[in-house]
Amino acid sequence: MSTTREAPVDGPARADERVARVGPWRRLMVKPELGSLIGAVVILGFFSAQSDVFRSLAGVANWLDVASVLGIMAVAVALLMIGGHFDLSAGVMTGTTALTVGIVAVELQQNIWVAIAAALVLALGIGAFNGWLVTRTGLPSFIITLGTFLMLQGLNLGLTKLFTGTVIVRGIADAPGYHSAELVLASTIDVFGQPFRVAVLWWLLVTAVASWVLLRTRFGNWVFATGGDEVASRNVGVPAQRTTIVLFMTTATAAWLVGSITAVRLTSVQANTGTGQELIYIVAAVIGGCLLTGGFGSAIGAALGALIFGMTQQGIVYLNWDADWFYFFLGAMLLLAVLTNRLVRRYAEAARR
């Protein structure tokens, strides 16, 4: 029913006496991404000021490498968190896919692309299973994916030992098709003479696509809605269950990408790969402004969260701080980053709510 009704004649750009003037700088500040950008800049400044290696091209390539693999997962996990769910199996799934690539390529002697495809199918299956179980039972995803996390951890170990007799799959470099796979997933690209890992490009691509989907598509709208209030969104016709399942499959796909990169790059995979990383992904997403309760967050923020984490991790090494205190410094720097972010936003908050 969209009949013409008498609309008051006022253009959208009309000034409103109920709105105070706000500078463009402050307006920028309140975007969630820009909050974490501040954190990233503070950390970057901190370490760059103290270590010239950190700010050298080689240093940048090094910490970008750390951030990129983490970032691919963090972005996917952020989407899932915006949609209101957790995936504790995300970390171990990178191991599962890497091991699958290894086992199919080496033990079953297939072309590496076949192995990578097989790993994708497996990952999508696991993601769909997670999503199906969560939507079907209505149980918290935290507990469901904890179950799959533990089961995958067991499978990774059990199957690897079954196939190889040990806890490591080796010899992926000898699989047919390895060189093309290496080119796509594990090569380096020279920039000003400094090789950068191609994973950085993947990270940027994943962030861009995720951001586009989130902000510019119907599906993105559904993600926000499902995470914001599942009942309400179902009531207005959002396919909340489908959205949830697709989100779990998205995290699984990201895990597959990271797993394939790992397998091709290291050419050997340990059975415990990825275990324990799931928390770090969540952390990167939260640093990037995602709400744990769902319905709010950004893909770019998560990518920046991963950057903060990666820079901090490597920066501490570059400063040659005592390794015994590594975690102390890591924790302190993280708090510093989020508190700065918070402070800046408090100041800028005057610009909204």
Binding site: E6, A7, R234, N235, G237
Partner: protein, 269 residues
């Protein structure tokens, strides 16, 4: 137009036969039968907790009835989800509004029915259209929003309700269901909503309207379904009741007049 008042208004769009709904041990509805006809406004009246919201949630696919049958155009239907009802052209304003507080006004407006532009993998949410339509529809209700990007959670109660109504009116194709749409509205906005209801009826939609205000119910209602403690107390055509009877049926509607006297003040209803 006044012919619709007494005549059945054609075959029912939606029909309920002996509908009952339990929530665990709570029996919220029992043996409700009524019909929603094109070009008619069915008012559902009743005390707090009588089961009005539960009834409309059955109509809009939120709850599956525990007992009884739901017919759409004479055919039995089973709405598994609100989407099914929406696809059948039934749009609803829920009492709790079904809005996502953290999302912007325009995203909420088009939630679940997003307009798209582009094709193939580049098909995307048409944000310009969405914002424009949102602003227009709200302005038509007399709500002049500052910024369609404002999160719905920061709107005033009435502004939020207006967004929900404008959305349902925009998307309602055959049946429009409104659960206490005017409760938080100003007098002006409430009048706009009543005029919408009349417009929708005139365009041949079936309207289900829940209100506690007899001054709102009587002018637009064609039929009045009275609920009490989950059971139907009768289903009256407009001709069969006067406003006074209606107010009486709405559980002592004259209380206000009596109250005014009792308080020993001038004025009153």
């Amino acid at each position: 137009m006044s012919t619709a008042t007494d005549a059945p208004g054609g075959a029912p769009l939606l029909e309920l036969r002996g509908i009952g709904k339990d929530f665990g041990s709570v029996i919220a509805l029992e043996g409700i039968s009524t019909a929603v006809r094109a070009g008619q406004v069915t008012c559902v009246l009743g005390d707090n907790g009588a089961g009005k919201s539960t009834l409309i949630k059955v109509l809009s696919g939120v709850h599956r009835p525990t007992r009884g049958e739901l017919l759409l155009d004479g055919e039995p239907v089973d709405f598994g989800a609100p989407r099914d009802a929406l696809d059948a052209g039934i749009a609803t304003v829920y009492q709790d509004l079904a809005m996502i507080p953290l999302m912007s006004i325009w995203r909420n407006f088009f939630l679940g029915s997003e307009p798209t532009t582009g094709w193939g993998p580049f098909r995307r949410f048409d944000r310009a259209t969405a914002k424009e339509v949102t602003r227009r529809e709200l302005a038509a209700m007399g709500i002049d929003i500052r910024d369609p990007d404002q999160p719905v959670g920061t709107l005033s109660g009435g502004e939020r309700q207006s967004v929900a109504i404008a959305r349902a009116v925009h998307f309602g194709a055959r049946v429009l269901i409104l659960d206490e749409p005017t409760s938080a509205l100003g007098v002006k906005q409430a009048a706009v909503v009543l005029r919408y209801i009349a417009q929708a009826r005139d365009q041949g939609l079936g309207v289900v309207f829940i209100t506690h205000n007899p001054h709102h119910a009587h002018p637009v209602g064609d039929r009045f379904l009275l609920l009490n403690r989950g059971r139907s107390m009768g289903d009256f055509a407009k001709g069969e009741v006067t406003r006074e009877q209606l107010t009486e049926m709405m559980a002592g509607g004259d209380e206000l007049t009596r109250l005014a006297e009792e308080l020993g003040r001038p004025g009153g209803a």
